[in-house]
Amino acid sequence: MAEKKIDLKAFKSAKEAKVPEDLSKLSPEERERLRLLGLDENIPHEGEYVQVDAKPLLCRRKVEGLEVMPISQALKSFDKIGDYLWKAVSPEKDEFTKAAAEDLDDGYFIRVLPGYKLVYPVQTCLYIRTDEIAQKVHNIVIVEEGAELNLITSCSVHPHISSALHIGISEFYVKKGGKLTFTMVHMWGEKVAVRPRTGIIVEEGGTYVSTYVSLFPVNTIQTAPVCRLTGEGARASFATIIANHPGSHIDIGGEVHLEAENTRTEIISRNVVYGGINIARGKIIAKAPKVKGHLECQGLMLSDEGLMMAIPELDSHYSDVELTHEAAVGKIAREEVEYLMARGLTEDEATSLIVKGFLSVKIEGLSQELQKQIDKTLELAKLGF
C-alpha cells in the first residue's frame, strides 16, 4: 500500500501564525480540549510543556532532578546536545526529517538526572491552532542512569481547523538502568496529516514502555519508530491502540533492533476498523544471540468499507533467539454478541462493549478524564457488523 502523498509546499510556516501570549487567552472550547487531553490542574504532574503552533506557551518543572525546556533553549544551554541531536533519527531519513532539520518550530527537551525516579507524569502537549500550517517540532528526552520518567504527550488541533501538517522528530535516550514510560495520545482532525519520526536508544538494563492511542478521525498518520536495544538486558514494549475511521489512512509501524544479549521486546497492536485504511506493521531484528521478541497484531473489522493490513516481520542473524508473532484480522464473533444479548444488552450495546474490551490494553499514567472520554467515544460510536 503506497504511502499517502503530502505536498509540503501546501502548508505555511508555523512561525507565521499568531499565537496568544498565554494559555488563558485560548477560547473555552480549546481549553476544554486541552483539559481532556490531560492538561488539567487537578492531575498531579512533575512538569509540563505546552506548545501552540511554533511557540512554547508553558514550560515548568515542579521537582528537582528534572529539566524541561524548549529545545531552542537546550540547543544553546545544554553543552552535550551534540551527543543527542539527530543521533537516533537521521535528518536524511526522508523529506519530513529534512524539512524539520532545515526549519525547526521548537519542541521539548526533557532530561531526568541520574538516579531521580519521578513519581507523577510529565505532561507535554503539542497543539496546532492555525489553519494550513506545518508544525515541525523536534523533541529530545534523556533519562540518565538509574532514573525514571513517565512522559505523556498529547497532540491535537483547534476543533475547527481545515488542514494542517504535524512533523514530530523525537529522540529518546534511556541510559543504563533507566526507565522511560512514554504515552502518546493523538486527537487530530479529519484534515490533519501527521508524520512523527521517532528513534529510541536503550542502554544496558534500561526499559522503554510505549503506548500510542489514536481513536479519533485523522486524515493520515504514518510513523514507524525505530528502537535500538544496545545494552545487555535492555527491554522495550510497544502497545498501539487505533480506531480507524472512514477516510483515515493510518500506517503505524514499530521496529526493534535487539543488538545485545538478553534483550527483549514485545510489540502489541489492536486496531478497530470502521472504515479507511489501516496498516499495522511490526518488525523485530535479532542482531545478537539469546534475545527474545514477540509481535502481536489484532484487527477487528466493523465494516466492509475499509482495509486492514497486518504486516509482521521477524529477522534473525543468529540461531539462539526466540522470535514469535501472531496476527489475526476478523469480525466480531456472533456468539459473543448473542451472549451479551441474552444478558439484556441490545446488539449495539453488546458490540460496543466488545470493541471497548478489545481495545482495553491497560494504559499506564493516562488521566481518568481522558480514559472516560475514550470510553464515551467508543460507546457513542454507532457500530454494525
Binding site: 464473533a333 456468539e335 459473543e336 448473542e338 451472549y339 451479551l340 444479548m341 441474552a342 444478558r343 439484556g344 444488552l345 441490545t346 446488539e347 462493549l353 466488545i354 471497548k356 474490551g357 478489545f358 481495545l359 482495553s360 490494553v361
Partner: protein
C-alpha cells in the same frame, strides 16, 4: 397455577435442517421441568429458540411468556421480560471483566455483586476477563452468578453439570437451588427448564416434571425420577420403543 411459559406446536430449523418437530409444553409459575435426551436430540435447540437466537428459525408455532407472544422478539427483549439462560460453553470476551457484565445484568434489585460472589467463593474472579481460562466448574459458577444477579423468572439451564468436578457440583447445585427458590416454601415465583443428557443434576435439584426429547419430538412426559431411572435401566433405546410415546 398460571403458566409462565407455553410452547405450542413449535417447529424449528437450524441452517436449513428441521430440528424441532412440533414441540408443545407448559411450565407453570414456580415449577422446574427437566428435559432428557441424547446429544443431538434437539434439547439445546429448544433452549436457544426460547431465548430467541436468530440462528434458530421458528417455522411454525408459538412461544408464549407471561401471556405474551414472544416468538419473534430478539434475545434482549426476552431477557428484559424475565428469561435468563446458562450457556453450556460460554464464549470468552477479550478485555471485558466478569464484574462489568454483572453490573450490566443487575436490575435495580439491590443484589450486591461482591456479597453474592463471596457467598459462592467467586470474588477472586470478578476482575478477570470473563470466561478466560476458567475451568468447567468456574464457567458454571460464572454463568450462575450472572443469572443470580440478572434474577430472571424463567431460568434455562443447558447441561448445568457437564464438565464439573465432584468438589464443585454441590456448590453449583446450591446456586441453582437459590436461583429457583428451592429453599423457600411454595408457592414459588421462579421457574426453570433444565436440559441434561446424564440426568445427574437431579441429585441436587428437584424437578416437578420430566420429558424425553428424541429426534426433535417429545417422546415421554412424567415423573422425572421415574423417567431418569427408566433411562438408566433401558437407555434411550427403551424410550424409543415405549408405547407411551403415542400420547404426545
Amino acid at each position: 397455577m398460571a403458566n409462565l411459559l407455553e410452547i405450542r406446536d413449535l417447529w424449528v430449523e437450524v441452517e436449513g435442517r428441521e430440528v424441532l418437530k412440533g414441540i408443545s409444553l407448559e411450565i407453570p409459575v414456580g415449577e422446574t421441568h427437566i428435559i432428557f435426551g441424547r446429544n443431538g436430540s434437539g434439547k439445546t435447540t429448544l433452549l436457544m429458540t426460547i431465548m430467541g437466537f436468530p440462528t434458530y428459525k421458528v417455522k411454525h408455532g408459538q412461544i408464549i411468556f407471561k401471556g405474551e407472544d414472544i416468538t419473534h422478539l430478539p434475545p434482549y427483549e426476552r431477557a428484559k421480560r424475565g428469561i435468563g439462560i446458562m450457556f453450556q460453553r460460554p464464549p470468552t470476551i477479550k478485555g471485558v471483566k466478569l464484574r462489568e457484565i454483572l453490573k450490566l445484568c443487575a436490575k435495580e434489585n439491590g443484589v450486591k455483586i461482591e456479597e453474592l460472589a463471596r457467598a459462592f467463593q467467586f470474588e477472586h474472579f470478578l476482575d478477570r476477563e470473563v470466561n478466560k481460562g476458567f475451568s468447567g466448574g468456574e464457567l458454571k459458577k460464572s454463568e450462575l452468578l450472572q443469572l443470580l444477579i440478572q434474577d430472571p423468572d424463567l431460568v434455562l439451564l443447558d447441561e448445568p453439570e457437564s464438565g464439573v468436578d465432584l468438589e464443585n457440583i454441590h456448590l453449583i447445585g446450591e446456586m441453582i437451588k437459590k436461583l429457583l427458590q428451592k429453599d423457600t416454601h411454595r408457592p414459588r415465583k421462579k421457574s426453570g427448564l433444565i436440559i441434561t443428557h446424564t440426568g445427574f443434576i437431579l441429585k441436587y435439584v428437584a424437578a416437578d416434571l420430566g420429558y424425553v426429547i428424541m429426534n426433535g419430538e417429545i417422546y415421554c412426559k412424567g415423573n422425572p425420577i421415574e423417567i431418569f431411572e427408566g433411562i438408566q435401566k433401558f437407555g434411550y433405546e427403551g424410550c424409543q420403543q415405549c408405547l407411551r410415546r403415542c400420547e404426545f
